[in-house]
């Protein structure tokens, strides 16, 4: 923040009004507000209503599938309970709601919907991918100047929109069946198995698709900033038959690699900047 100011009348007033809008104590602030024919609390209530309604709408916009699964009226109730305990700490509304999936997963009225937290997580990742920049990509030929002995130390920078999620529930099918505009109402077998999904921008849209176990682990490890050696090892532990060379070619072909660095070899002090966008 710029220059924090000394405690002041304005600071005190804004704290008091803020507390009232957030639904906390308003007794301390009503005396500072003119009634002008109404109870000052009624005037504060106009702001409180807008705060709750606008944040509820923001959550609905970010979690449309959860809204449809839960039913809009119940979603509005769940959202209002969430807003009480998680007021926004971000200016941009599209950044509000990161904790909503965990909230839903632990929300007692949703206890019978054991998959709802993961469906919400998927929607949060889709929203995040939609609000991510896209960087210029590099190709595998950009690694040509490297010594092959350095390959294990490669750490790739991947597209900021890339996200990965694993769920024990078929959240991809739940999403498709309940996305806005979908008229499908078939039954989904929750015992049919989970999924491993990759979410990313493709052109000007966000798409997600299912990945095989080895590829999911490889991309997840690379996305966490692990070096190539570690990521490949993890993928092979998951699927000993996984074709890692093919997997790396697909990583480049999908336009996901935007740069790389070389992690220090055992005994070296620092990473070597090699190429970044």
């Amino acid at each position: 923040m710029s220059r924090p100011r000394n405690p002041s009348q304005l600071h005190d007033l804004q704290c008091g009004v803020g507390q009232a809008v957030l639904g906390h104590d308003e007794e301390s602030i009503v005396a500072a507000i003119m009634g002008d024919g109404l109870d000052p609390a009624q005037r504060l209530n106009i702001y409180r209503n807008h705060y709750n309604a606008s944040l509820g709408e923001a959550l609905k916009a970010t979690f449309p599938v959860v809204c449809r699964v839960l039913d809009p009226r119940f979603f509005a109730y769940a959202a209002s309970e969430f807003i009480k305990i998680s007021p926004p700490r971000q200016v941009c509304l599209f950044e509000y709601g990161e904790e909503f999936p965990d909230f839903l997963a632990a929300f007692p009225p949703c206890a019978h919907l054991s998959y709802i937290g993961d469906v919400a997580r998927l929607e949060w990742l889709i929203s995040g991918a939609l609000h991510s920049p896209a960087f210029p990509v590099i190709g595998s030929k950009d690694l040509a100047h490297l010594d092959a002995a350095d390959y294990p130390q490669l750490v790739f920078a991947l597209q900021p929109s890339l996200r990965l999620i694993e769920s024990r529930w078929p959240i991809d099918r739940i999403w498709h069946q309940n996305k806005p505009g979908s008229e499908s109402d078939g039954m989904i077998d929750l015992d049919a198995g989970g999924c491993r999904l990759e979410i990313r921008q493709l052109g000007e849209d966000v798409v997600f698709r299912s990945l095989e176990p080895g590829e999911f682990v490889l991309r997840s490890e690379l996305a966490k900033g692990r070096n190539l050696d570690t990521a490949v090892a993890a993928a092979l532990v998951c699927d000993p038959l996984y074709d890692t060379a093919h997997g790396l070619r697909r990583l480049f072909a999908d336009g996901l690699v935007t740069g790389f660095t070389l992690a220090p070899k055992p005994g070296e002090a620092e990473s070597v900047p090699a190429k970044q966008p």
Partner: protein, 295 residues
């Protein structure tokens, strides 16, 4: 006090003659495809701060329309200071899109790191003027340009608010060199909610500082025995606001004028028709592109 940019308001690009529209996401594709003959576009800056596909679509439109960035989250009136990270993102956006106007509000929304997602009213005191002026200086210095500050709609007033709001804005413009965004609907809404004379408010605004005019619709809610007007941007501009727009034009002359519509967003053609109506009103009252100032 930081060194302030000299242009008032930021007029490095020619001012569009025709009225503009507030561009909202559901209309983005249609505007891109049809390229309607509207004078300019204004967007809420915060909706593009992810720098993703929406930002790239706006970048493409930028070649076809003058663009205005309208911020709603800087919290210029917050006693606790303004968010440097948010200001950095606004600067990146402004540097990327080269808007002909950048505007914010006489308001606050940040209370101890929690954002109230609203334009909260500021008491008009000397302390508030110091806070606002300090923050406008910081923003203008960081952006390297003047900004416009908009009068908000209000549903309450504070017991201690000794400076009339219009005079407060005039003093802010004089101290910082910022321009003013005169939201005619907000003046009307606040005048009804807080019982003041909207014409006196207009008369107290300095015409030379007015860099933009906003028009929008509002709703009426009954609270107790009172009707409270809500600035919901959810309907056509009311007859009363069109009349007040006439008074504003007679006083300020032709200014870049924008029609906003946010909730219950209509078909694009309805919004364009509102902009055309704003053009017709302006053509009648300001046939010459000269400033007309009241005595």
């Amino acid at each position: 006090m930081t060194e302030r940019p000299s242009a008032v308001p930021s007029a490095m690009q020619p001012m569009p003659v025709k009225a503009g529209i507030g561009l909202r996401a559901p209309h983005m594709a249609e505007v891109s495809a049809r390229q309607p003959a509207v004078g300019w576009l204004e967007v809420h800056a915060e909706n593009y701060m992810g720098f993703g596909p929406a930002f790239r679509a706006l970048e493409r439109l930028r070649g076809d329309y003058p663009l205005s960035l309208h911020g709603v989250g800087l919290s210029l009136g917050a006693a606790g200071g303004i968010d440097d990270g948010h200001l950095a993102r606004l600067k990146r956006l402004a540097d990327s899109l080269d808007p002909f106007l950048v505007s914010e509000h006489l308001a606050w929304c940040d209370t101890g790191g929690v954002y109230l997602n609203d334009l909260m009213p500021l008491p008009c005191t000397e302390e508030s003027l110091d806070v606002m002026a300090g923050h406008v200086d910081i923003v203008q210095s960081r952006l390297g340009r003047c900004i416009l500050v908009e009068n908000p709609s209000a549903y309450l007033r504070y017991r201690h608010s000794p400076i009339p709001e219009a005079e407060f804005l005039a003093a802010l413009a004089a101290r910082t060199g910022c321009g003013l965004l005169c939201d005619v609907n907000n003046i009307y809404v606040s005048s009804r909610n807080l019982d003041f004379d909207p014409l006196a408010y207009l008369a107290a605004l300095p015409p030379a500082a007015i860099g933009e005019i906003h028009l929008a619709g509002h709703a009426a809610n009954v609270v107790g025995d009172h009707t409270i007007l809500i600035d919901d941007h959810g309907s056509a501009v009311s007859n009363e606001v069109w009349a007040l727009q006439g008074d504003a034009l007679r006083r300020f002359g032709r200014r870049p004028t924008l029609v906003e519509w946010d909730s219950q967003l209509p078909a694009l053609d309805i919004l364009l028709a509102e902009a055309a109506k704003a053009d017709a009103v302006c053509a009648t009252l300001c046939p010459e592109n000269d400033d007309v100032q009241a005595a």
